[in-house]
Structure formats: C-alpha cells, structure tokens
C-alpha cells in the first residue's frame, strides 16, 4: 500500500518548490556579485583571521568553486536546507498525533511501521526537487558569468549531501515520535541540527577539540573539499547513511510502542 506515500509526497511539493525558488533568487544575487568582487576576495581572505574560514570551512574565495561553496553551500545548503529537513521530519508524526489525524489513519489496516516509513519515503520530493533544481541553477549561473564548474564535482556535492540531509531528517523524526506537541518537536529538532552544526564548526577550529565534531553530521559532509579539491568522501557518506538508518530504526521502535 502506497496511499500514505502518495498523500505525503503531495504535501511536500509546495515547500520544496518554494525553497528552490528562494535558492534561485539567492544564486542570481551571488552570481551577479562574483565578477565584481573576485579581485577583492584575495584581500578579504588576508584581512580576516584564519579561524573564521575554518569555522565555515571556506577556501579559495577568489575561484568560482570556492565562492559558491562558501556562499551558497556552506550556509544555505549545509545549514538552512538541513534545518528544513529536520523541521519537516519533526512534523511527520507529531503533527498527525496532535491533530488527531493519526487516530483515523491507524484505524485503517496499516501498521505503524508502514506509516512511518512511507512518511519518511515522501522526503524524496524535496530531495529530488532541490538536488535537481539547485545544481542546474548553479551550473547555468556560472556559465552566464563566463565561469564554469566541473559538472562531476557539482553533482557529487549534491549526491553526497543526500545522506547528510537524511540524517538531519532522522533527528527530526526521532523528535517527532518522542514529543507530542508539534512546535516542541520542530523546535527541538532544528535547535539540535543548528547546535550540531555549530559544534562541528567550532571544534574544527582547534585541533585539540576536533574530536568533539566526530559526533556531528556536518563533519561527514565537506562541500568545499568536494567542489574545490574534488575529494569525494564516500566512506563518510556511508557513515551518514548508517546513522540515518539507525535514527529511523529508533523512531520505529519508539513509535510502535507508544500510546497515540
């Protein structure tokens, strides 16, 4: 039975499209800026202390790869899109429980496991919409200003971000089955994702504390390494995929045992 998957997928379309449009607007802004400020970026990099760049893992701002990695991916993608996934996932179960939709849904011959898995599977919509629209916009934007991207590196930037975004969704999902109030679940999830991102950034500044970041998802996804150095950390992506599976497993365990 895929009725829930169909319904949930439909619910994800609007938000995904809005996010893609926001991204398109943002890209136009950055691409129109880049030719004018390319020269200044060298000065800019010298003017700021090094830890500022470590914090956001920024390098080579004077190249289009470094600039886009810094301006678009390190903030917009790694933080905002991640928070979007955590936010949406945090509502998947909690919203239906608090609005009593879950009562009707579970009165049908469907297992709780199936409900949860179908709802998570519906995240294919934002994953596909964003991971198709955004690289196309970035690629065309670069061509438009006379620069160019390595299409493989760009594709890998997106492909390897999928496990990362799913882990953020997994964090939201666990919040969603544990907390009954939607706003609390969403607040918890996006705070957690933000704090984890911050911890990873700060811990990477000082080698003595770098190990702390090992427990954060953003440690396993480095957009600058992919775009600037064309380093594809497949093992890290595997770690994230396993983490996602574990989070979904925890969510299923909690959800199948709790009172609605």
């Amino acid at each position: 039975m895929t009725a829930i998957l169909r319904l949930e997928s439909g619910k994800r379309v609007r938000g995904s499209v809005i996010l893609a449009v926001v991204f398109a607007v943002l890209s136009v802004l950055y691409f129109s800026m880049f030719p004018g400020i390319q020269e200044e970026m060298v000065v800019f990099e010298e003017a700021f202390p090094e830890f500022m760049f470590d914090l956001f893992s920024i390098e080579q701002l004077y190249t289009i790869e470094g600039f886009i990695a810094a301006e678009i991916y390190s903030f917009f993608w790694v933080l905002l899109v991640a928070i979007y996934f955590a936010y949406v996932a945090a509502g998947l179960i909690a919203a239906d429980v608090s609005d009593r939709r879950m009562d009707l849904l579970l009165s049908t011959p469907v297992s709780r496991e199936s409900v949860l898995v179908q709802k998570v599977a519906a995240l294919w919509v934002p994953l596909v919409v964003l991971n198709v629209a955004v690289p196309v916009i970035v690629y065309l934007g670069a061509l438009a200003i006379g620069e160019s991207f390595d299409p493989v590196a760009l594709a890998m930037t997106h492909l390897l971000s999928i496990p990362y975004l799913l882990v953020c969704a997994g964090i939201g999902l666990v919040a969603s089955v544990l907390v009954d109030r939607v706003r609390t679940a969403r607040g918890t999830a996006l705070t957690l994702v933000f704090v984890l991102w911050l911890v990873e950034g700060i811990s990477s500044v000082d080698p003595d504390y770098e190990w702390i970041g090992a427990a954060t998802p953003s440690r396993y996804y480095d957009q600058t390494a992919i775009l600037v150095h064309e380093e594809y950390a497949l093992f890290d992506a595997g770690v994230l995929t396993v983490a996602f599976a574990v989070l979904v497993g925890i969510a299923v365990l909690v959800f199948t045992r709790r009172d609605i």
């Binding site: 169909r6 009707l104 049908t108 011959p109």
Partner: protein
C-alpha cells in the same frame, strides 16, 4: 459470536484509572450503546480497542484479534469502520480527495450509497467544512468499505436533528443487515432510541450492562410544571415522582412512570406551563445506580 470481547480492561494514567477493569461483550448484529458522561472513559475504551493506546492490564478482542497482538489487530481493521469523536482530516484536501485516500487504504464499495444519505460538499476543501459536514464525511469514510464492525464515538454531535434521525435509521438498517455497531454517546435519549443493549460507564468503571428496555424504564423523564394557583402538594405528588422540588407554584421532579399516566394526572390541575425532557445522565446515575453500584449484573463486574 462476540465481535468485541473486553476482559478486565484497565488503562491507568498515573493514579487515574481511565478504564478500570472493564469487561463486557458485544455480540454480532447488535447496536451496542456505550453510555456515560463526558470524561467517563468511553473514548479510552475505544482507543484501546483500536490499538491506539495499550492496556495497563487486561485485554480485549476485536473480530477475534487480541488488541495486544499488533499484527493481528492491523489485519482485523480491514473489517472495522471508525468514526472518532474529534475528526482529524488533511485540511487541504477536498472531501473527495480524502475519501479517495481512505478508499486506497481499505476500499470503498459502498461509497456512493452512503453519500446518498450523507452529502458533504465533496469538491470543497475540508478546512472550509462546518461541524456537520465534517461529521458527514466521517460517517461516509467509516461505512464506505462495508465493514462488519463500526465503532462510533459520539457520532451525531454536530449533525442537525434531521441528519441525526437519518443516522439512527441508517444504523438500524445496518444492524438488520447483520452489521455490528458500537455506539458511544453521552446522550441518554439517543442511546434509548437506537441501541439494543447498553453498557454504562462512569469514572472508568462499568456500572451497568442491560437491555435497552430496562434502561427505558429506569430513565424516566425530567418534568417541570408551573401551576396557575396555589395547589395541594399532597394531591399533586404521586409515587412515580422522584426528587420533587417545589418553588412557589413551580414543581420540578423526575417521573419514573408511564408518560401517558403523567399527562392524565396533570389534566386534573390548572397548569400555566409544562416542560418534559430527558433527565441528565448524572441524575439517572444518582437515582438508579447510586454510588455503591448496586444491581450491577454479575457479568459486568
């Protein structure tokens, strides 16, 4: 054959027992009324039966499936319809889209037939629905897959009187066609009107289990009479009048006898106004079931 078998079902929230050792059976082909004031634990029993919450102790069977056996219960739900007290739909969907969704979940072979009786505006989004339209959409989804058992939680709240009456007639037809209806309500007259057998729940405990005829006798009427002039109270009050309260020339009492006899009796007085209605459920409990729960049939204990 028992369609629902409830055995010492208990659900505690800390110190509070929402259901405390509830036991009864619902037989195939009957309309079973589950009567109790708001907050008595009716919805808790229903949510236990559907596996939405787990019992603290005891158990129940729905269409032969133990509610603690999640897999068996999930399968049994293909043959169960459910109308919750609070209807949670996807608000952005139209009524038709919502029914299409439930059709994909468990079928809709009787959709058109039920829609002839209850007609929510299918092309409008559910967020624009009135309480009555929401209830009608809920009724359609509960019956459209032609289930053997339908569990209704306060099914007529929000419906206008005409639709309420239509619902009652529909339930009787369904019962006659062999369906089993579990009908939860806090309205005594409604349960008396439509049910075959009644379980009464109060503060989480089943206090009575009886045929509706017995309940009809016990229910009585809530009567308020305003007399035109000072009257002889000794002549006015009969043995069928309970809890008589007199203020000036107005008498308020519960009448436990035959309504026709009451009317004949009243004709003998000069009356300015009279009101006859259903007694409050709490009054019925007070009069007939007391706090000691005497007279509870052994099977209900």
């Amino acid at each position: 054959m028992s369609v629902i078998r409830i055995d010492d079902l208990t659900k505690r929230y800390g110190e509070v027992a929402a259901n405390d050792g509830v036991s009864f059976d619902v037989e195939a082909g009957e309309i079973f009324g589950y009567l109790g004031p708001n907050g008595a634990g009716k919805t808790t029993t229903i949510r236990l039966l559907l596996g939405l919450i787990g019992p603290t102790s005891g158990t129940a069977e729905v269409l032969g499936a133990d509610i603690r056996d999640r897999r068996a219960l999930t399968e049994a739900k293909a043959n169960v319809g459910y109308l919750p007290d609070t209807l949670g739909f996807e608000e952005r969907l139209t009524g038709r889209d919502a029914l299409d969704f439930f059709a994909r979940m468990r079928g809709d072979e009787r959709r058109e037939e039920v829609l002839e009786l209850f007609e929510p505006p299918l092309d409008r989004r559910i967020e624009t629905y009135s309480a009555g339209n929401r209830r009608m959409l809920g009724i359609v989804q509960a019956f459209m897959h032609d289930p053997a058992l339908v569990i209704l939680d306060e099914p007529t709240s929000g419906l206008d009187p005409l639709k309420q009456e239509r619902m009652h007639a529909f339930l009787e037809d369904e019962r006659d066609a062999g369906k089993t209806i579990f009908f939860s309500s806090h309205v005594l007259s409604e349960v008396q009107r439509v049910c075959d057998r009644v379980g009464i729940i109060r503060e989480g405990e089943l206090v009575a289990l009886e045929d509706v005829e017995t309940l009809l006798k016990r229910g009585g009427k809530d009567v308020r009479v305003q007399l035109a002039e000072p009257f002889d109270e000794g002549r006015f009050v009969t043995s069928e009048m309970i809890d008589v309260e007199t203020v000036d020339s107005t008498v308020h009492f519960t009448y436990a006898g035959d309504p026709a006899a009451l009317l004949e009796h009243l004709v003998g007085f000069e009356i300015k106004d009279v009101g006859i209605g259903d007694p409050r459920l709490e009054d019925v409990f007070k009069h007939y079931y007391g706090d000691e729960r005497e007279g509870v049939p052994a099977e209900a204990r």
